[in-house]
Every structure is written in structure tokens, then in C-alpha cells.
């Protein structure tokens, strides 16, 4: 990538972020994904509404168990439907994905929506060559001769930064390093020119330098293909580098949505602020990191009435919380759930270090 191109991206971004948001690609409305556990259904994604626009990276951030991966799998219809109940709407290209038959959904997945998975070591079929695995979505979504498919695959491999594509084409996954495999997985997701990409923790399993390479690659590709991207991650650093807008999730709900600079400069929800304060690189060396009291409740033990974060900020008076927490637009395009952010402050002294962390 040349300096010039980078500069162009930058200008484009500034323009885009400040002036307008493109047409929406995906509109999620009140999505609820419930899993059956011992006969009862418990919602892991609990009433999420979110819009993704063209050429926009929306990051969904939260700790494990907050429902962010369940959300991604719901959009793609990858949950086991025998044990999962999906409600609400996922509107994509003027159809609700949740109500599509498997056959119709298969016309969308892999074609208009591509997905990038977390662990490059397990996401590829060990018995098929790289070339075959990239060509597979083309088999179902594009009418191409095998020569055309091969050519397209070679192009894709080059686009994801693989130089010796001739060789890689015929190799098996175990012959490649983790970073290379992740590039291949990205190539698969891009195979049929999707308008929406869902990246589920795309860099989590990688080494730092490889993570940086993959982040830069995704940024570059995004600028080329102009599709919407849903980026699911627990790493706020990745969010700061990649995202245009950020949705913070806690216990199945979105608790804060804002444009990325706004979120990092002016985080409001107590959960967002706690997360930012618990990151070592955000703090002075050897300083006390913020500890969020307690643990993320499991979906069976979750108290679904009132502010779900309340038990973890016990010092906040009860009247500060809403009885039925709603999203409030505190600034244009900056939404926060519940009213408890208004007077929120971190307690003095030993932050969140109770005698017993939890029992």
C-alpha cells in the first residue's frame, strides 16, 4: 500500500465520519436469541437493535458472556435451531433473515454476507486444499468455469497479502502459519464480494505483530470493498484502531453506542468506563487497575429487571438507576442505557477490592 493510498483513506474516513453515514446495509431490530437450558429458554441476546451502514465498521465490544458472539451467529443463522429461539428482525436486503428458509438463507450466507472466524487453527477443513476452500462459496453463488474460479482465487489470495499464491493454492491448512490461515479465512469471506462482513474476534488468537498485520489488512480491504463490517471483539485497542462506531454490550444488551472518538473521549456508561479503566496500557505503570466487582452473571442467573450492571457498581444509589432502563440519546448518535451514568464516579481507595471477590 502506498503512502498516497493511505492518505486517501484518511481523507475519505474523515469525510465519511463527520459528514454522513451511507445507506444502511443491515438493520437489527429488537433481536432476541434464547438458548434452551434444561427445558427453559434464556436470552443470551436480549433485545438488541443496531444498524450497520455501507462502508462502516461497527464494533461490538464486551467481555465473554455478554452475548456478542451469539449476536453474530444469530445474524448468520448459525445457531442450532433445535435449542435456540430467535425473535425480532434482522433486515438485510429487504428481507428478514430470521424468517428465511434454510435454502434461501444459503443464498445469502457466503455471498452477500461473509464471515471471519476467531481461530484460524480450527476454522479450515484439514482435509481440503486452500484453493478448494476459497472456491467453495463460488460453487454455490457464482456461475464460473473452474478456470475462472481459480483465477479469482489467485486474485483473492494476492489481495489478502499472500505472495506465493500459486503454491498456497494447493497446500493444506496445516502447512500454513496462523497468520496465513487467517488471511485465507478472510479470502473465503471475500470470495463472492459481500456487502456485509462479520468478523468474530478476527485477531484474538494471533500474535501481536500478526494481529497488527491483519488489522491493517482489514482496514485496507474495507476501503477497497466499501462493505459494512461488524467487528466483534473484547479488545478495546482493536476497537480504537478499526471501528467507526462502537456498541458496548453487557449481559445481552447494548448499553452504549457512539462514534468511536466520542466513545473513547467521552465514555458514559459505568460499564464502558470500567472496561477502559481496567486496561493496563491505559494506566500509569504499577498503578492500580480498576476491578469490576463480581462476575458477569450466567444467562440463567441473570436478573432481567432493572439495570443489569447495578450489582457490579454497588456503591451507586438505587434511585440513580432506571426501573426499566432505556437507551437515551445524550448527544447526536451517542446512546446510553439507564440513567446511572449521570452521577457515576469511581469510589476512592481500593477500587472494587472487597474482602471476598465472590464466592
Amino acid at each position: 500500500m502506498t503512502e498516497n493510498l493511505l492518505f486517501e483513506i484518511e481523507i475519505y474516513r474523515l469525510y465519511k465520519e463527520e459528514v454522513f453515514l451511507g445507506n444502511s446495509v443491515l438493520e437489527i431490530e429488537n433481536l432476541r436469541a434464547s438458548f434452551r437450558i434444561k427445558g427453559d429458554y434464556y436470552a443470551a441476546v436480549d433485545g438488541v437493535s443496531l444498524t450497520v451502514h455501507e462502508n462502516e465498521v461497527v464494533a461490538i465490544v464486551g467481555e465473554s458472556g455478554c452475548g456478542k458472539s451469539a449476536l453474530a451467529l444469530s445474524i448468520m443463522g448459525l445457531h442450532n435451531l433445535k435449542t435456540t429461539k430467535l425473535e425480532g428482525q434482522v433486515n438485510f436486503q429487504s428481507q428478514n433473515l430470521l424468517s428465511l428458509s434454510p435454502a434461501k438463507l444459503n443464498k445469502v450466507r457466503g455471498k452477500d454476507i461473509g464471515m471471519i472466524f476467531q481461530d484460524p487453527m480450527t476454522a479450515l477443513n484439514p482435509l481440503a486444499t486452500i484453493g478448494r476452500q476459497i472456491e467453495e462459496p463460488m460453487d454455490y453463488h457464482m456461475k464460473l468455469s473452474s478456470a475462472a474460479k481459480k483465477k479469482r482465487t489467485m486474485d483473492l489470495l494476492r489481495r489478502v497479502g499472500i505472495k506465493n499464491e500459486q503454491r498456497i493454492y494447493g497446500q493444506y491448512p496445516h502447512e500454513l502459519s496462523g497468520g496465513m490461515r487467517q488471511r485465507v479465512i478472510i479470502a473465503i469471506a471475500l470470495a463472492c464480494d459481500p456487502v456485509l462482513l462479520i468478523a468474530d474476534e478476527p485477531t484474538t488468537a494471533l500474535d501481536v505483530t500478526i494481529q497488527a498485520q491483519i488489522m491493517d489488512l482489514l482496514k485496507e480491504l474495507q476501503n477497497q470493498i466499501k462493505s459494512g463490517i461488524i467487528l466483534i471483539t473484547h479488545d478495546l485497542g482493536v476497537v480504537a484502531e478499526m471501528a467507526d462506531r462502537v456498541a458496548v454490550m453487557y449481559a445481552g444488551e447494548v448499553v452504549e453506542i457512539a462514534e468511536v472518538r466520542e466513545l473513547f473521549m467521552n465514555p458514559l456508561h459505568p460499564y464502558t468506563r470500567s472496561l477502559l479503566n481496567s486496561i493496563p496500557s491505559n494506566m500509569e505503570a504499577k498503578a492500580k487497575l480498576h476491578v469490576i466487582e463480581g462476575i458477569v452473571p450466567s444467562i440463567q442467573n441473570l436478573d432481567r429487571i432493572g439495570c443489569r450492571f447495578a450489582p457490579r457498581v454497588a456503591w451507586v444509589p438505587e434511585e440513580d438507576h432506571e426501573t426499566n432502563p432505556q437507551m437515551h440519546e445524550v448527544k447526536p448518535n451517542h446512546f446510553v442505557r439507564c440513567t446511572c451514568y449521570k452521577n457515576f464516579h469511581f469510589p476512592e481507595g481500593r477500587v472494587g477490592e472487597k474482602d471476598y471477590v465472590a464466592t
Partner: protein, 322 residues
């Protein structure tokens, strides 16, 4: 690849040597010898006469000299003579090997024809009535002893219904090489093969079912679904390929197991193969035959495992040898 096969073959040599040593020593350690066996029930045999014969046949030499003699001949294809049948062991076996191989081969094929579809159905549609039925069948086949089941089959289909012959490998009145001859062979094979196969499906079904259930949850299957691959193709192209791999690899072990397992089946169905010969030879203390048979069964096992290794290295790119 060739290098791998060559090395794997070379490893067989010490294995076989060890096997022969163990077989020989064990045979010697058993009470009695060929002479006691040959004269069993003969009141005229005096101890002097037996001792004289032992001296003559070299049975009083130190064991290693006897072993050297035996292995030297064995390498040249001479396993000595049977005391009971009064003919060279090699000739004796030649007539039986074919029958046993035929039995094992058909049992294997039928086992796979039954087990693979059942395993796939049970693994793909877990917790449906079909799966429950298959699992139940599987437990029955695991729990039923081979000899009980075989006797039942024999009783029902041969004695009561009279559909199949009671014993032997072919009707002796039929001329060799004719169509009727083949039909007769098949008729004789049917019951032993079915009895063996129906009970041998257990491992394959269970393994395949579990492996499919595991593979279904693998990430690469999720990748395939995210590509928009139709469900049927997700199974044929991704899940089954991975799950059938170990089954293919076990082929060698299965062959080895079946040849060893033929002992029961052949005795019950009076099927003239190696297994039946093995039992009668042990009864008669016909040690030359027993040692030769154990050597053959052992070799089959070693070759079987080698075959498995080679198959696996061919079908699985992860361990494919450059």
C-alpha cells in the same frame, strides 16, 4: 512415500522375529509334546519308544537349536509335517487359507455395508427414533456373545428352516469351477459371514456416530455453513470426509481382528478354515501346525497394522509423508 512404506516394512522384520520366538517358546512350554499327542490313547506306546522318537526328531536338543532349525525351515516355507494329518503343514494350510480369507473378506464387506450407513444416520440425526433404534441394536450386538448368536443362527436357519447348509465350505458333489460351485460356496458362507458381521458392526457404528457428533461442532463446519453450503453438502463434503477417515485407517486392524476371530465362527459352522484347524490342532497337540498357525495369524496382524498406517498416511494430508 515409498521410503515410508519401505521403512515400515523393515520394522516388520524384528517384529516378526520376536513373534516367532515367543510362539516357539510358548509352544515348548506347554505340557506334553508332539509325541505325547501322537501316542495319546495308544496303550502300546512305551516310554522307551517315545524317548527314542524324541531323540530321533531332535526334541531333546536345547530349545535354541530346535528354534534355529525351525525358523531356518520356516523361512524357506517349510513348517514341518503335521503329526496328526501326516502331511506337510504347508499343504495342509494351503487348502484352508483360501476359505478363511474368503470368510474374513466377506465379513468385512458386509460389516461396512451395514455399519457405515447406520453410523452416519445415527450421527447425523442424533436423538431421533432412528438414532435410538440404531443405538439399541448396537448395544445388543455388543452384549451378545458370538457363540450364542452363531448357534442361534445355525439352529434357526439351518435346522428349523433348512435354508442354509449346516457345515462345510462347499457341497462336495459339485464340480469345481462351475456356476453352481460358486453358488454353493456362497450358501455355505452366508450364515458364518452374517453372524460375524452383525456382531462386528459395533465398533464402527459407535465410532462413526461419535465422530460425526464431534465433527458437527467443529469450527470448519461452521465456516462451511457460513459459506452458504447446503446442509446435505455440509455433511458429504465436510463432516463425513473427516469422520470416515479413521474408519478407513482401521481397515487394516479390522482384517487382522477378523482373521483371528475366525476361530469361533469356523468351529461353530464346521467351516474348514484356519480357525477350525487351529482348535483341532491344539486339542491334538499338533504343535507344528499350531506354531505355523500362530505365526500366520500374528503376521496377518502385523501386516494389518502396517496397512492401517499406510492407508492413514495416504488419506490424511496432515500425516502424509513427503
Amino acid at each position: 512415500m515409498l521410503k515410508f512404506i519401505l521403512r515400515r516394512t523393515l520394522i516388520m522384520i524384528p517384529q516378526l522375529f520376536l513373534l516367532s520366538l515367543i510362539v516357539f517358546v510358548l509352544a515348548k512350554a506347554m505340557p506334553g509334546d508332539a509325541i505325547t499327542g501322537a501316542f495319546a490313547g495308544d496303550p502300546n506306546a512305551t516310554e522307551e519308544r517315545k524317548e527314542e522318537l524324541r531323540e530321533k526328531f531332535g526334541l531333546n536338543d536345547p530349545w535354541y537349536e530346535q528354534y534355529g532349525r525351525w525358523i531356518g525351515n520356516a523361512v524357506q516355507g517349510d513348517f514341518g509335517s503335521s503329526y496328526m494329518y501326516k502331511q506337510p503343514v504347508t499343504t495342509l494350510l494351503a487348502g484352508k487359507v483360501g476359505n478363511t480369507v474368503l470368510l474374513a473378506l466377506f465379513t468385512l464387506i458386509i460389516t461396512y455395508i451395514i455399519a457405515i450407513p447406520l453410523g452416519i444416520v445415527a450421527g447425523r440425526w442424533t436423538d431421533t427414533w432412528a438414532d435410538k433404534l440404531i443405538v439399541t441394536y448396537n448395544y445388543f450386538s455388543f452384549a451378545t456373545p458370538l457363540f450364542v448368536f452363531s448357534l442361534l443362527m445355525l439352529f434357526l436357519f439351518s435346522f428349523i428352516l433348512g435354508w442354509f447348509p449346516i457345515g462345510g465350505s462347499v457341497d462336495i458333489k459339485i464340480e469345481e469351477g462351475t456356476w453352481d460351485y460358486i453358488v454353493s460356496k456362497m450358501e455355505h458362507l452366508f450364515l458364518p459371514v452374517m453372524s460375524g458381521a452383525l456382531l462386528a458392526t459395533f465398533g464402527t457404528i459407535q465410532y462413526l456416530r461419535n465422530d460425526i457428533i464431534d465433527t458437527k461442532l467443529k469450527d470448519f463446519v461452521k465456516t462451511a455453513r457460513a459459506k452458504g453450503v447446503p446442509e446435505r453438502k455440509v455433511y458429504t463434503k465436510h463432516i463425513l470426509r473427516n469422520s470416515l477417515l479413521p474408519i478407513a485407517a482401521f481397515l487394516g486392524y479390522e482384517i487382522a481382528g477378523l482373521i483371528g476371530g475366525s476361530i469361533f465362527i469356523e468351529s461353530i459352522f464346521s467351516y474348514p478354515g484356519l480357525g477350525q484347524l487351529f482348535l483341532t490342532s491344539i486339542g491334538a497337540r499338533d504343535f507344528t501346525v499350531v506354531t505355523a498357525l500362530v505365526m500366520i495369524l500374528g503376521t496377518a496382524t502385523i501386516i494389518g497394522t502396517m496397512l492401517s498406517d499406510i492407508i492413514l498416511s495416504i488419506v490424511d494430508p496432515r500425516i502424509r509423508v513427503e
